[in-house]
Chain length 308, copies 2
DNA sequence: GATGTTCTATGTGATTTTGTTATAGGCTGA
DNA sequence: TCAGCCTATAACAAAATCACATAGAACATC
């Protein structure tokens, strides 16, 4: 029966050339190599090396066999390294991926609820952009994510959470701030803080908000993070379309928000890696999230899409 | 130190689900699996399975680790199979790849010479088309090949052997058989046995023989094997352009050959896999080949391109 | 609630693998 | 001829691997 140790010795011998060198590299003695190779030849049923002039010379069979080996093995060393990263990243408790806006607004409320159920569970929060959220989930680097909805992706399970109002953010004192609501036409001559074009996993936002109305405002700054967009408005660079999560906070910084009339939706979801069964901790986190989302006192500007 | 056996057990356990099933598949007992996994967890430094309700449930770390494993290993079983084919194909002696025409003409002469040097070496002849010759060499399935010249290919070493006359093959009794030589223009109104279009490693033969003269004969049958072309001519399906190796043989079958005036060449080579040093047997085969090629009595219709 | 089934974990001892040291012999170049 | 390479084998030690025996936990069924 062919054994792994023989393959290791063979690989090493083929690349080193001599048993002595191979032994040195594998940190064992030369006779060990010698016998492993002899055993391998017995098991394979053909010669791997011609013993010529006291040296080992690979046969053509050895070269062909080596190809098969290299196609099938990359060695334990790589696995050791992979284990290293996994161990380094592993932690007790719950790892949550979350978009920047939510991590300063919705997430604290959820955690508040969560800690009532699990006071002692340590939590890690990975604040990343919308596109990276799915990567974190697929790579199993987080246990759960709260995020803007994204297209279906293999390996990720999604549960709708809530639909949030679409708001127009204006600098305090802006003429439009007098209105009760804003329409796309109102912004036809305004400078708008825009979105990154061709951003993965999200459609063209500008198209989404203004395309249907035939309005094409002027864009000066483009960004995909909601907080940045609020900040640009606060500094008077223009107006923008935002979600409502951070509106309270930015109101104190001189940003006024008004409902924006558009068929576009802001839908948010809770997502899990579909592998691995859900732990009890994770169930509790989900519970906490649903409670927050369904509590009108906590989330007055959204409609929950799911019940406890 | 992480060991291969642990990885095998881990792979099996992940796909089987229980230690009992994994043990059955690996033809060992359940405690052996149990211990291998426990050891692996120790070595890795993190848990791979949660012991819940008397069952093993993979952790997310296990799933991540499994990905690393599957990327790096495909198992010893595949190697065993690869060894199987290598052993089956392996033989003592010399393996030669050769095109069909040569295997009935030039090769017997070479072997005649070769056996004077090595009477006891068993020889295998792999008669394959021009395109397959290079594959056989690259896969180390043969030690040497005699073939029509082909473009340079990595892993193959080529040595020019000889340049053969280009002949026109005619059915006996054909009007053109009266001539001493044939020109492309002579064939303008003839039906010609043609070549496979777009055949790998060889240019368009029809273009090569007739293109420069602006002659476009009619083609009815197309084939890449010289013998087949001779046979079609012998049966009166048309005329063709051939190499001279088999002309003597087909003369007895009613095929007349005449020199064909064209700048095109028929160049033949001897080729070896560039890996692996050349054995003494192979050196003798090369010697025999050169002797044949350089002997005007044996090869009257070609010019040798190399000396002993 | 007793019972049988199915699963995992551990202790013990036999077997196999893997490794070391010691030793011998071949080739090569100074 | 001799030192410096190399490979191969024998004898023994250490470690890995395995089977067997056994025990405990979960769960379904009667």
């Amino acid at each position: 029966m062919i054994r792994f140790r023989q393959i290791e010795a063979f690989r090493c011998l083929m690349s080193c050339g001599t048993t002595v060198a191979a032994a040195r590299r594998m940190h064992i003695t030369q006779p060990a190599i010698s016998r492993l190779i002899a055993d391998l030849e017995d098991d394979l049923g053909f010669r791997l090396f011609n013993r010529a002039k006291g040296r080992l010379e690979p046969t053509t069979a050895a070269i062909r066999f080596q190809r098969a080996v290299e196609e099938n093995f990359l060695g334990l060393e790589r696995l050791r390294q992979a284990a290293e990263t996994i161990r380094a990243e592993e932690n007790e408790g719950l790892a949550i991926a979350c978009m920047p806006v939510l991590s300063t607004s919705l997430l604290p409320q959820i955690l508040n609820e969560f800690f009532k159920l699990r006071p002692d569970v340590p939590v890690r929060i990975d604040t990343v952009g919308n596109a990276e959220v799915t990567v974190k989930l697929q790579d199993l680097k987080v246990d759960v994510a709260i995020s803007l909805a994204f297209p279906a992706i293999a390996g990720i399970e999604v549960e709708p959470l809530l639909e949030a109002d679409v708001l127009c953010a204006l600098p305090a004192g802006h003429p439009l701030a007098e209105r009760d609501f804003i329409t796309p036409q109102d912004l036809a001559n305004e400078t708008v803080i825009g979105w990154m074009p061709n951003y993965p996993l999200s459609q063209n936002q500008e198209q989404k908000y203004f395309g249907h109305a035939g309005v094409y405002p002027r864009y000066n700054i483009r960004t995909h993070t909601s907080h940045t967009r609020y900040a640009m408005v606060a500094n008077g660079f223009g107006v923008s379309i935002v979600e409502p999560f951070a509106s309270d906070f930015w109101e104190t910084q001189g940003v006024v928000t008004r409902p924006f009339l558009t068929p576009a939706k802001h839908e948010y979801v809770i997502a899990y890696p579909s592998s691995g069964s859900r732990s009890a901790i994770l169930q509790d986190f989900r519970l906490a999230t649903l409670r927050v989302v369904n509590d009108p006192a906590l989330v007055p500007w959204g409609r929950a899409l799911t019940q406890e």
